[in-house]
Symmetry: C2
Subunit: 231 residues, 2 copies
DNA sequence: ACGCTGTTGTCAACGGTATTGCGCTGATCG
DNA sequence: CGATCAGCGCAATACCGTTGACAACAGCGT
């Protein structure tokens, strides 16, 4: 029993050892390891070299920690957007940055896809998108609606991609081989379109899909602005 | 081991038998109760009047059960789509039906948003969307790409909505009041667009957003088909 | 320099989750 | 009629997030 509790733990006790920022940093290190290392409270304690439950001195629960981590990553995305872009460029930059950071920290991206952090950087994102749709020519309720369309669609798509990356490689491989194997072996009578396009279906890349999706959102804003301007 | 007679289909077990279908039914009953009743193995056993672990005699694990449940609900959506609709109508019907069923069984909708079931009804959905985009005028790789755009975007959006419905009412109320309260109290200097549109932001409805999103996807297909036809 | 007080880390424990191994039972079949 | 064996219950396992009691320290007023 190495239990002399009085003097063992005194080695490191210089002020506040564990700060919220240090905990967020450690969380991001674990999150960056993706599916190879589960993001658990116990694992986080290990990463910090501290007792797992120590984090509860700085965050009410794991959810609040996750919201803070998400806000940090959102800030990274926002800071990576260059100045001087037009509205389409800003939306594209936000989309690309969000996807990149969600794939870098999949557990964060997937957990936050249906949440509202109500933290500073989230407001900056709202402001950015609203500014873009207004620059495109929308106002009032139309601007609000199209902001929500962009924000919700983007968040959902990016979160889904992150969740997919969170599966271990084994499961992902099974999913992807489905396109190249099972879709070729389908009943040609009942499913003629799949049969005809099985080769093309296997060759579509995630980048193409994302580009098409973002493009669809931008076109919708543009088209709506034109319609309103004409009327 | 030799699974001998195929003909004795009727006489499996007479008494309180647990069949895969009965388990799926019970799962849907629990899932329909949304956030008021967690979808756990123990709760499922209770619903079935059986030991919780009995489920593992019919499904390898909870994930496989969930995939089967999801396929069942997908079938319901597909069967609800009327015949004789044009391609836009079919996509809209699929979108509306998917959202409805995902909100009816939120735990299923949210868990399956980033999965591929590779079960019969999923193939039917693929066939349906592919048929729609081809009727719109797309072919080959373009049809495949736009199928993926519609499928992925729809699945992600619907899954996100389902996950949001899965929070208990308390958390949801806090999220919604953020739009009407916190967004009004924001710094007008740093966030002028939010300040100006806070009232309109609070009034956007989920139905409007979904309609706008689906409309954007349909327009993108239409526009692409026009461009290719012109060229 | 003292003791009080509040903060922060440690430890053990609790209730929750999915899942597995073992043993019984009873319907079915040779 | 007796043997077989799938289906089910039970107990146990390995995690998970979280809490409460306690110990050690920092900073404070006196």
């Amino acid at each position: 029993m190495p239990k002399s509790p009085a003097n063992t733990a005194r080695s490191k006790r210089a002020g506040s050892q564990l700060t919220p920022d240090a905990i967020i940093d450690a969380s991001l290190r674990i999150a960056a390891r993706g599916s190879e290392d589960a993001f658990t409270v116990r694992r986080l304690g290990e990463e910090l070299g501290a007792d797992p439950t120590a984090i509860y001195r700085h965050f009410r629960d794991k959810d609040e920690l996750l919201l803070s981590v998400a806000d940090r990553t959102l800030g990274e995305v926002l800071d990576s957007i260059p100045e001087g872009l037009d509205w389409k460029g800003r939306i594209r930059a936000l989309a690309d940055g969000s996807l990149a950071v969600a794939l870098k920290y999949p557990v964060v991206g997937s957990a936050m896809a249906s949440r509202t952090t109500r933290r500073p950087n989230e407001f900056r994102v709202v402001e950015l998108i609203l500014g873009a749709v207004m620059e495109a020519g929308l106002e009032g309720a139309e601007a609000a609606l199209h902001y929500r369309m962009v924000a919700d669609s983007l968040l959902a798509y990016v979160g889904q991609q992150a969740a997919y990356f969170l599966f271990d490689a084994e499961v992902r491989a099974a999913d992807e081989s489905a396109w190249t194997r099972e879709y070729r072996l389908v009943d040609p009578q009942a499913l003629p379109n799949i049969t005809r396009l099985s080769a093309e279906l296997a060759e579509v890349t995630d980048e193409q899909i994302f580009e098409a999706t973002v493009g669809a959102l931008i076109s919708a804003i543009e088209k709506r602005a034109e319609t309103l301007r004409g009327a």
